[in-house]
Amino acid sequence: MTIINRLSLGVAISALCATMAFAETELTVYTAVEAEDLARYAETFNKDHPDIKVNWVRDSTGVITAKLLAEKNNPQADLIWGLAATSLLVLKTEGMLEPYAPAGLDKLDPKFRDGDNPPSWVGMDAWVASICYNTVEGGKLGLTAPTSWMDLTKPEYAGHVVMPNPASSGTGFLDVSSWLQIFGEDKGWEYMDALHNNIAAYTHSGSKPCKMAASGETVIGVSFAFRGAKSKADGAPIEIIVPSEGIGWDMEASALIAGTAKEEAAKTLLDWSITPKAMEMYNVGYAVVGIPGIAKPVEHFPEGITDAMIDNDFEWAANNRSAILDEWTKRYDTKSEPKG
């Protein structure tokens, strides 16, 4: 007993020393970046800045946003690194973000930054909508792959389409707001009325429709390209389709939390988050990154994604979010709807 105690005490002390030696500042970083990428991001960052320790607080976009809003009067985070821009806009309207122009801001694609100067947030990589189509199950049912958003309303797909619920999923909201922008408001709602007839389920998370398509639980999953590429890499019989009308997108972005006590370190991290080195790091999973010309093609990603990205009006989306969700909920979120 005593020996074990001493041993573990020793380990604890040396671990303590190790952290003390290298990490003078600890940052609490809120993020919605995929769990498996987090360690890699922190590791790469620490190669350049060993003196800053990153303490991740990770959850899905909705939960992290809810958490940040709940903590509005008592922010726990120093920094946000990797959260949907749409969410950052919400935080901005609450006055929770500290405007800051990180070094190297001029290299960033103007789409990938807050319009204000200095910007309240800067983008990392884009995150695009797309359709996951299960070729095996589609074949069994004698279906053909859709090529456009409009295709999804065809009667043959009835009960075979799954999409995320915009009220609980960032991806879902992205889809809805992009349709309203692509088709115009009235046509957009008409489109969704038609689509609704084909929907088997509205999921709570954005990646689930694609995973359901991957496992054949549904044929068509409205999701995002990144998820589709991963499932395909895992061996799922799916096709990732970029609809011809164009695709909605959002970006993972970063921002300082107003009033952080560790401004210096937080700015260092924010500066680093838009360096070419960081962009290369994002490129491992994301086909589109903030600095033009850096991205290399990502395996299993469909072609022509950058061109298909619509000119997304984030301000419009943020300022109309509440109204859009109210309308959507009123139209589709009842029990009497068709189910697969």
Partner: protein
């Protein structure tokens, strides 16, 4: 001599001795715990549900220039609205994310015009957005037309019942109440019927394998409520093994929720009904037999009335469990909205905390009602129990015993099947395209949900909950039961201790966000830590532990305390030397109850866990949410094995400890 009356004067009060002071201090501390961990958060939540957002138009003042840039008189938005009538009172109600476009007050607005606008707040709190920039000032700010079109007014908070009005006028949200009640009612009927059959077979037949069936019936308690949902997807989902059995029906929706609910509420109902059946009186049956009543008649005139309190109690417990459960509808509910899901959607999906609070308050109503009825029934059952009766002895009857065996086997196949499917699913590489076995799904670190760390966190939480929960609950119960005087205090304490039973876990969790995540609250330091999870879990499961402790304490001679104080011994010496050792079996029961529930609970912690304190049960939910169903099943099975292991350990530990310390029980 008879018409004596009490002379005037103050009633004699005993001086407080050190013992009394310590006891009161302890009870005060634990009561304070319950107030802080329960009453205050609920109160905060209740008040939050009355926080409403609306646009206060008299707080904004505009000035408009002509084309030459000369400004006219200031005019409030309220005055403009009165003049134009663009917004009705209804339009001015909003939520925390509401926007009101400023240009709507100016019908002639054109963004190309050289007209300029000024805007200011007339009071300190008049927020508006320029684009996405928050402004809140009483200074005049000037904007050109092109900027002015990007101005949105923001709502401010006030207090009123508006959220409730809105809730009940929203057919979508309102239909959730119907759905919840429907699901709970159907599940209750099925569970009670199934569990009654099972309990009846265990109590009234001479079938074989009773011990085995008893064990199997308890299995669902060891897993999170959403695990059966996952199994049902593998069985009846679109790629399910037995999909054809549903004949085109979808498992996603009420059907899935009901089957899953029957699974996870089965043991609860079974325990209660077994207790009710086991108090039957042999003599009544003998009487019925001597009156030549048929078996069927005896069943309806003796068995059912005798067990009626148990049946009612089981029904209400099942009803409450189903209506407050959140994991199952989340996993397999499809588009079927229920109250518990609404809370989750409002809070996590839309960040509409106020509406989340409203739904929580509504969810409290059926739970409180069910709880109240259950308490009333329990009281009656107790008086039934105390009657002296001759326990019923079943006689062998081949046909009946075979029937019972068949029924129990059916239920056992259902329960074991669900769990086995989960284990199988967890080991499949890529359902349904690659059925080779692999441990890939146990690589939790590569998935959402918190990885293996979540599993270890859960064990830590369960351990801490078991230790602290048991200490707090038992000490609290001791103070209530054995303290003398101080009646009002004890009454309040007893009420607080019973309250958690009626508070759904999600409601408690949401209340914790409101209460603890407030910088003005000195306790907010525990927010996001393991401590708040332990507090939440202990509080959520307080009542059952409290009742167990009370029952054990009531069986102890009430004269121990007077004897100890006459021997001038402090109460804590009696407590440690006698009370605790005598109650050890109950104490061990409370701790395993706390442990198992801390491992499986989702609802009590889903709002308050943080990344560092991710939990296995929540990981199951989140992995399923992300579509990683097989890993979710794998994690669910880890919880199952851990709980099964803990139970075994508890069994051995109890035997050993009892063997050593309870020698006195043997004559």
């Amino acid at each position: 001599m008879t018409d004596l009356s009490l002379p005037a004067g103050p009633a004699i009060k005993l001086k407080l001795d050190r013992d009394g002071a310590i006891k009161r201090l302890f009870m005060g501390i634990i009561a304070l715990y319950l107030v802080v961990a329960l009453a205050l958060p609920l109160y905060t939540m209740l008040s939050k549900s009355f926080v409403t957002y609306s646009f206060e138009l008299d707080r904004y003042e505009f000035q408009v220039s002509d084309e030459a840039g000369v400004f006219g008189d200031p005019v409030t938005a309220a005055a403009l609205n009165q003049q134009l009538g663009v917004f009705t009172a209804d339009d001015l109600r909003s939520n925390s994310d509401g926007r009101l476009t400023a240009t709507d007050f100016f019908p002639d607005f054109s963004f190309r015009s050289p007209v300029k606008y000024r805007l200011r707040g007339t009071t300190a709190n008049a927020p508006y957005l320029v684009g996405l920039d928050l402004q809140n000032t009483t200074e005049w700010r000037e904007y050109d037309s092109n900027t002015f079109r990007r101005i949105n007014l923001r709502p401010v908070t006030s207090v009123g019942p508006q959220n409730y009005v809105e809730y009940f006028s929203n057919p979508t949200l309102f239909s959730s109440i119907e759905n919840s009640v429907f699901i709970a009612a159907v599940s209750t009927v099925l569970t009670v019927v199934f569990a009654f059959g099972f309990a009846y077979a265990l109590n009234r037949s001479c079938m074989r394998f009773k011990g085995f069936f008893r064990l199997v019936a308890m299995m669902p308690i060891l897993v999170p409520s959403l695990l059966p949902g996952i199994a049902l997807i593998y069985l009846f989902g679109n790629q399910g093994m037995l999909k054809s059995l549903l004949m085109g029906q979808s498992i996603y929706g009420p059907l899935g929720i009901v089957i899953g609910s029957v699974f996870f509420t089965f043991p609860h109902a079974m325990i209660i009904i077994t207790t009710a059946l086991s108090i039957a009186d042999q003599r009544q049956y003998e009487a019925a037999e001597s009156l030549r009543a048929s078996k069927w008649r005896t069943f309806w005139t003796v068995t059912i009335p005798g067990a009626r309190y148990g049946l009612i109690s089981a029904a209400f417990v099942t009803f409450t469990l189903v209506i407050t459960d959140f994991g199952l509808p989340k996993v397999i509910g499809g588009q079927y909205n229920v109250l518990a899901i609404d809370i989750y959607k409002q809070v996590i999906g839309q960040q509409n905390f106020e509406m989340g609070a409203v739904v929580s308050v509504i969810l409290l109503i059926p739970a409180v009602l069910a709880f109240y009825v259950d308490r009333q029934v329990q009281k009656k059952q107790v008086s039934l129990l105390s009657a002296r009766s001759v326990p019923y002895q079943p006689r062998p009857n081949r046909r009946f015993d075979a029937l019972c065996l068949g029924w129990c086997a059916l239920m056992a196949v259902f329960i074991v099947g669900i769990i086995a499917i989960c284990q199988y699913a967890a080991l499949i590489k890529f359902w349904p395209y690659d059925l080779s076995l692999s441990l890939n799904n146990y690589a939790f670190d590569k998935m959402d949900g918190g990885g293996w760390a979540a599993y270890w966190n859960s064990i830590k939480l369960a351990g801490l909950t078991a230790v602290f929960g048991t200490v707090i609950v038992f000490t609290g119960a001791y103070m209530v039961e054995k303290i003398d005087g101080f009646k009002t205090g004890r009454g309040i304490f007893q009420f607080l201790a019973m309250l958690p039973m009626a508070v759904p876990g999600m409601v408690l969790g949401l209340a914790y966000i409101f209460f603890f995540n407030n910088p003005a609250n000195p306790l907010h330091v525990i927010y996001g830590t393991m401590t708040i999870l332990v507090v939440s879990t202990v509080t959520h499961f307080y009542t059952v532990g409290h009742l167990t402790a009370l029952t054990a304490l009531k069986q102890i001679d009430a004269e121990f305390e007077p004897v100890a104080s006459s021997l001038r011994q402090p109460f804590y010496r009696l407590f440690t030397r006698v009370t605790v050792p005598v109650c050890l079996p109950a104490i061990l029961d409370i701790s395993i109850y706390m442990f198992v529930n801390a491992m499986t609970t989702v609802s009590a912690v889903v709002f308050i866990y943080s990344t560092h304190t991710a939990l296995a049960s929540v990981a199951v939910l989140n992995m399923d949410d992300a579509g990683d169903i097989a890993p979710a099943a794998a994690m669910g099975m880890m919880i199952f094995y851990t709980n099964a292991g803990a139970r075994l350990l508890h069994l051995f530990a109890s035997r050993r400890i009892l063997g050593r310390t309870q020698a006195w029980r043997l004559r």
